[in-house]
């Protein structure tokens, strides 16, 4: 990592773009999920589109975690230690899963190899398949458009792939590369303290997108934290079907909006609480 950053020609730039795009990717997927949720775009016939998108969010978080674990800094080492022990606390399959993840009983060079394989092989394949399915479903069902009650129904708008769509995409790509280059130049990625398996640093925090789990783990017992986070992930993926059940229970009120609002505020609250110390 040091060689990539300091010796390879433009290595610092590639690393900076990689690091900053990972942050923007997580933020973009979270914001997209929130937009889709609050506009009700996950409802029939787009349930599977939502489920595949929610799985993409989990895979993207997996990318983030395995990515920063590969640096083998203090944060990487202790983050991986916590994640391994958290996995071990999963009922029934936990110990086997943790052993598979770590490549042994504790964090070692085997763990780095496994995280590398996850980061460059398994997760990209999963992302490719899930994103493929997601885009296919978007093509099949069309993009949901937000229509206000007093607004006349819009007629279907289409435009050619070439040059309209392609040029827009290229434009966004160039703008993003410029933005990422600016970020990589202004805030270049450094290298933290080297992993020390004997001493956890006095102040340790994961990346911002795991702040909520970090704070949750401080506030709750381990078993409850593991089960509640697992349940939250399950509800995230299965929300279209949960929503259908809720609308049957309460046909007049849209309970999903209220629950979604509470969930977003809770996530934001936990994240801010952790960020502020």
């Amino acid at each position: 990592m040091k060689a990539i950053t300091e010796e390879v020609a433009f290595g610092w730039w590639i690393r900076g773009i990689h690091r900053w795009s990972s942050h923007l990717m997580v933020a973009a997927v979270i914001l997209h999920a929130i937009r889709v949720f609050f506009t009700g775009a996950y409802r029939a016939p787009r349930e599977l589109t939502w489920a595949s998108g929610a799985l993409v969010l989990l895979v993207v978080l997996g990318f983030g975690f395995t990515g920063y674990s590969l640096l083998y800094e203090q944060l990487s080492y202790w983050g991986a230690t916590v994640a391994g022990n958290l996995t071990e606390a999963v009922p029934l399959v936990g110990p086997t899963l943790a052993r598979l993840l770590r490549g042994g009983g504790g964090i070692s060079e085997n763990t780095v190899t496994r995280f590398f394989v996850l980061h460059i092989g398994i997760l990209p394949t999963a992302l490719f398949l899930l994103l493929g399915l997601h885009l296919l479903l978007v093509r099949l069902h069309g993009v949901s458009e937000f229509v206000f009650r007093d607004e006349a129904e819009k007629r279907e708008r289409t435009f050619p792939f070439f040059p309209d769509h392609l040029l827009t995409e290229v434009g966004i790509g160039v703008a993003l590369t410029f933005l990422l280059t600016c970020l990589a130049c202004i805030f270049p990625p450094g290298l933290g303290e080297r992993a020390d398996p004997v001493h956890a640093p006095a102040h340790i925090k994961p990346e911002w997108y795991f702040y909520f789990t970090f704070r949750w783990l401080k506030w709750t017992g381990l078993s409850f934290a593991v089960l509640s986070l697992g349940l939250a992930a399950f509800l995230l993926v299965a929300w279209p079907w949960v929503d259908r059940l809720l609308s049957r229970l309460s046909p007049k009120r849209d309970l999903s909006i209220g629950i979604g609002l509470v969930a977003v505020l809770a996530l934001l609250g936990l994240t801010l609480r952790e960020a502020l110390g």
Binding site: W78, T81, V82, G84, N85, L86, T96, R99, L100, G104, G105, P197, V198, H199, A200, P201, A202, H203, I204, F214, L217, K218, T220, G221, L222, S223, A225
Partner: protein, 149 residues
């Protein structure tokens, strides 16, 4: 009497079955061994210090084989050895002299000098720092550690 053709066919299938079982079985056995390597536990007796260097009220830090840190204390003649690994999620705790407590920086677990959790997630789960058996032989203090090899 089974016709010769049918016997040949049966033999061919049996041979094919054995060949498949042998090849894929070997592959599967290696895969299982790779995924679930054999674990053995080994007991080790490690010299920690002499009793003269650990009078009542004193404490010492020792690095055990494998890198684990062990804190030895002498509380009114009773020698204790505590692990510095937090039982919550495996981070290492720090001894805070001014507060007389162990503190885990990961999820803010707090432990009393005897290793019992008094605050944070480990206290909620009723956990404590692992205590290693200690034996005193003459003037020498030994730690008894179990390692996974």
């Amino acid at each position: 009497m089974i016709p010769r053709q049918a016997r040949r066919s049966l033999l061919r299938w049996v041979a094919l079955g054995f060949a498949l079982l042998a090849s894929y079985g070997t592959g599967a056995a290696y895969a299982v061994r790779f995924l679930f390597p054999t674990r053995r536990r080994r007991e080790r007796r490690v010299f920690a210090c002499f009793t003269s260097s650990l009078p009542p009220g004193a404490s010492l830090k020792r690095r055990a084989p494998g890198g684990r840190e062990v804190l030895l204390t002498n509380a009114a003649g009773e020698i204790r050895a505590l692990s510095n690994i937090c039982p919550h999620l495996g981070c290492t705790v720090h001894w805070e002299e001014h507060e007389s407590r162990f503190f885990c920086p990961c999820h803010q677990g707090v432990f009393a000098p005897d290793g019992i959790a008094i605050s944070g997630p480990p206290a909620k789960a009723g956990q404590r720092l692992e205590r290693f058996p200690v034996s005193v032989e003459g003037e020498a203090v030994f730690l008894h550690l179990t390692e996974e090899v």
